[in-house]
């Protein structure tokens, strides 16, 4: 079955990102296809590679990146929400004249249409948030 996942909260403050990750991993291990994980609202903060949690804590950002690598998972960060919150890839930083970029490996920035499309193409869409 094709499943889409929507993550609406950032890492660490809320459990939403943990739940989404554990759900996504379990679905993949059961042989389901994850059509896309879409990060919206503060959920875009799951994609900054500048995250550096203490060594004895989980690294939520890296965990997503690794899962993406292992399963060629499509991790999409909403551009409008990302711009509000200072998440940028190299191209966007250049376009906006910013001196840095911070998008982690495995994530890509794209439009909100990707969320609607995930709803159309997936058999189920599951939302995680606050």
């Amino acid at each position: 079955m094709k499943i889409g996942v929507l993550v609406n909260e950032g890492p660490y403050t809320h459990e939403a990102s943990d739940s989404a990750y554990n759900f996504t991993k379990a679905a993949l291990e059961k042989g389901h296809e994850i059509y896309r994980v879409f990060f919206y609202h503060d959920g875009v903060n799951n994609s900054t590679r500048l995250t550096e949690p203490p060594r004895d804590d989980r690294n939520i950002v890296n965990r997503w990146s690794e899962l993406s690598k292992q399963y060629s998972l499509d991790l999409v960060v909403c551009i409008a929400a990302a711009q509000r919150r200072g998440i940028m890839d190299e191209n966007e930083a250049k376009r906006q004249g910013k001196d840095a970029n911070n998008l982690a490996e495995g994530f890509r920035i794209s439009g909100l249409g990707q969320l609607v499309e995930a709803g159309i193409q997936s058999d189920r869409l599951v939302t995680f948030g606050d």
């Binding site: 609406n8 939403a16 759900f23 991993k25 869409l125 599951v126």
Partner: protein, 99 residues
């Protein structure tokens, strides 16, 4: 239909709204702080028990254990792991998260 609730009923009205709107035969899965809604001895116990006449109630085991509530689950509530969560999503035609 699968309803997912992640808020403690003692903090927010998500579970109450969900139960108000869940039609007969649907399923309710409690995750994150929502798991407190399915535990014994609290003032919400009666409401969950009444709801269970019409809807099936599930609770996410890992969230329950993390909160030290694994031994307090109400009778009739089924405990599932993340794999079981995935199965519930697959079994029901759609799902709504009461954020």
């Amino acid at each position: 239909m699968l309803h997912i609730v992640n808020k403690s009923p003692y903090e927010r009205n998500s579970l109450e709204s969900c139960l108000r709107m869940a039609s007969k035969g649907s399923a309710v899965l409690l995750i994150e702080d929502g798991v407190y809604g399915a535990t014994k001895g609290g003032s919400f116990e009666g409401k969950i028990q009444a709801a269970m006449a019409d809807v099936k109630v599930y609770v996410l085991g890992p969230d329950l254990s993390a909160r030290g509530m694994a031994d307090r689950v109400l009778d009739g509530v089924s405990v599932v792991d993340y794999g079981g969560f995935v199965d519930l999503v697959a079994e029901h035609s759609n799902c709504q998260s009461w954020l």
